[in-house]
């Protein structure tokens, strides 16, 4: 008797766990708010401004998804997380979708039960160092103390790099990027290592940027991508195609300014028509309406626009497009077609 009760209880729990997994779209729409997992603060990618409004490149993608799903880019609840807590928060259901400058890896995909969205930023790990140390290559870093964020892929890459090159280092572990900058400027570590995008903004913020340099070695591939929980394919599709639409929009010349005009009536470019819903109804396939992409692009613009607004050459972070240019423009940004 007791056994059956316990089994029933266990079954009920696993059932509820299952139902909690499926139907994220319904949950979000019923709630009227998208819970988006972001970082506690990374310059250009996600940070609150002086009015408490979250701004940044990752934040924009959250808003785009909210616009596509809920019709309002402001209906996002941002869930700030550290590197260690981000996946737990997503997997426990406290977050619906994650845009947190997170590297896509096999173990995260398979073992942590995530489904990754298309890459929205191609990054790589580099080293920031004071010029007066006279070091020109990462291979000369034998015995250096290195500031490194825990719980990140950069931590593992670092260990790999030093082992492969048979040199030693002394890790100074830190929790956030901000802490890393503070430790580096206070000379508690010789080198600060993180993704090159982060290093560029870090260097720009230093007292005298010209006294520091980024070493030429990029020691890893860091494809940064959004992610959702595994097991809800429809929801993963929505995330995937919103990102693809934002990237495609740039390729097709659709911008925040002209999207309303292009979506008003069918143009002579069928790719644009399919994306903006003037031809067929692509949104229906993922459980949305025909205007999903129009709303997403109206909210944040195309990939190039959001890039320039938050991390591009005219911002203090001053990142070049580099790998993140469109495929027909020297980069590797290559969004699958919407058809």
């Amino acid at each position: 008797m007791k056994l059956t009760k316990t089994t029933a209880l266990a079954a009920a729990i696993s059932l509820t766990a299952l139902t909690a997994q499926a139907g994220t779209l319904d949950d979000v729409q019923a709630r009227g708010e998208l819970n988006c997992v972001v970082t506690t603060g990374l310059a250009g990618f996600a940070a609150p401004d002086e009015n408490g409004r979250w701004e940044g490149f990752d934040v924009d993608f959250c808003r785009a998804v909210a616009a596509a799903v809920l019709g309002d880019p402001e209906k996002v609840k941002f869930v700030p997380t550290t590197g260690k807590t981000r996946f737990t928060i997503l997997n426990s259901g406290e977050g619906d979708i994650l845009f947190r400058n997170t590297t896509e890896t096999m173990s995260r995909d398979a073992d942590l039960k995530l489904t990754f969205l298309p890459v929205n930023y191609y990054d790589g790990q580099g080293f920031l160092i004071r010029k007066d140390l006279g070091i020109d290559s990462a291979k000369d870093l034998d015995g250096a103390s290195v500031c490194i964020q825990t719980g990140t892929t950069t931590e593992l890459n670092l260990a790999d790099f030093f082992r492969v090159n048979n040199i030693s280092y002394e890790p100074v572990t830190i929790e956030t990027n901000e802490e890393g900058i503070a430790n580096y400027t206070a000379n508690r570590c010789d080198v600060y290592t993180t993704d090159a995008s982060g290093l560029a903004s870090t260097r720009a913020a230093l007292e005298d940027p010209s006294a520091h340099k980024i070493l030429p070695e990029i020691i890893s591939k860091e494809p940064l991508a959004g992610a959702v929980r595994q097991g809800d394919d429809q929801w993963a599709d929505i995330g995937k195609w919103v990102v693809n639409a934002i990237i495609s929009a740039e390729e097709l010349g659709v911008t925040q300014a002209n999207v309303a005009e292009l979506a008003a009536a069918a143009t002579n470019n069928p790719s644009i028509n399919r994306m903006l819903g003037t031809e067929g109804n692509m949104g229906e396939m993922v459980g949305l309406d025909a205007q999903w992409a129009v709303r997403a692009i109206t909210a944040i613009g195309n990939y190039g626009e959001t890039f320039d607004r938050h991390i591009g050459p005219d911002t203090p972070i001053a990142l070049e497009r580099g790998l993140n240019a469109q495929w027909n423009n020297g980069g590797i940004l290559y969004a699958a077609p919407i058809r």
Partner: protein, 375 residues
Amino acid sequence: MNGNIENYKPGEHPDLPPPKNLVGPVAWIRDNLLSSPTNVILTILSVWLLIEVIPPVVEWAFLDAIYTGEDRNECRARGDGACWAFISERFLLFTYGFYPEPERWRVNLSFILLIIAVIPVLYDRVPLRKPGLYFTALFPFIAAYLLVGGDFLGWNLPHVPTEKFGGFMLTLVVGITGIAFSLPLGILLALGRQSRLTIIRVFCVSFIEFIRGVPLITLLFVASTMLSYFLPPGTNFDLLLRVLIMVTLFASGYMAEVIRGGLQAIPKGQTEAADSMGLKYWQSMRLIVLPQALKISIPGIVNTFIGLYKDTTLVIVIGLLDPLGIGRASLSDTKWTGLSNEVYLFVAIFFFISCFAMSRYSLYLERKLETGHKR
């Protein structure tokens, strides 16, 4: 000499001033700073340290500081002191977190009511103390309604979800709730631990030992993520409420042990005397034992309060931004990156004021309740 001797009747000799070389600043310096070779060396070292430290800090924090400006570059261009422009631009964010702007009067009102509610508890010689204490008992509910809003008996304030709470306001909400509820809970647990009823004793002991054996950060993490695995889907158990419960339980575990220490210092004769006067258990506790035990425990209790208050910064692990979290997030604003000294100093000052006030009050209370047992 002889001629100056005056004759006084026994007992009527006027008080004479102490010898000149025992009073005044010179004597004070000799007694307190230069009384032995070790002290001379220590004094010289301290003076040297102060001269080294204070002028640069004052120069950085006040004289060279920049108070207005648009961004970091402007600060840098105008001088190399502290860039307080950053803090002043973000002051509202630090105070209210993400609380919607048109509703912020509710936070202010709650804060004023808080002061009114706290005064009759802290001081016993204020006018209208009795009705004041009734108001104090009601205050948590009034404040909760004011801050969260919603529909209540015809009153209708716009609802503000608790994840919008942040900054100093969040620290005060979490800290004061924890402080207010952990003391009574801790007293109950401490009494329960000494209970003669096995069930109550075992429950209290295991609760206290569990709480003390687990770090707060783990409890918070469980509250934020694990609970949603166990609760039926669709139930939305407010995140801040979970945090408040966890923080209160955590502090009450420590509180119970502090109070148990006080209870054990009360001689058994006190309880026996109470028994012999026919007082019931709760009467003897309320009138005889607890007043003495709590008085002895004041330093420990305040210690726990201060610890709890500072532990509120841990809420960052579950995505709530207290002043420290707001500060860290603000540092990622591309306009201002790299101003960590200013932010940490600002937050430190806030915590210092709060904690120092608590510790001063506890000293005042100890002096007031002093009955001559102190050594």
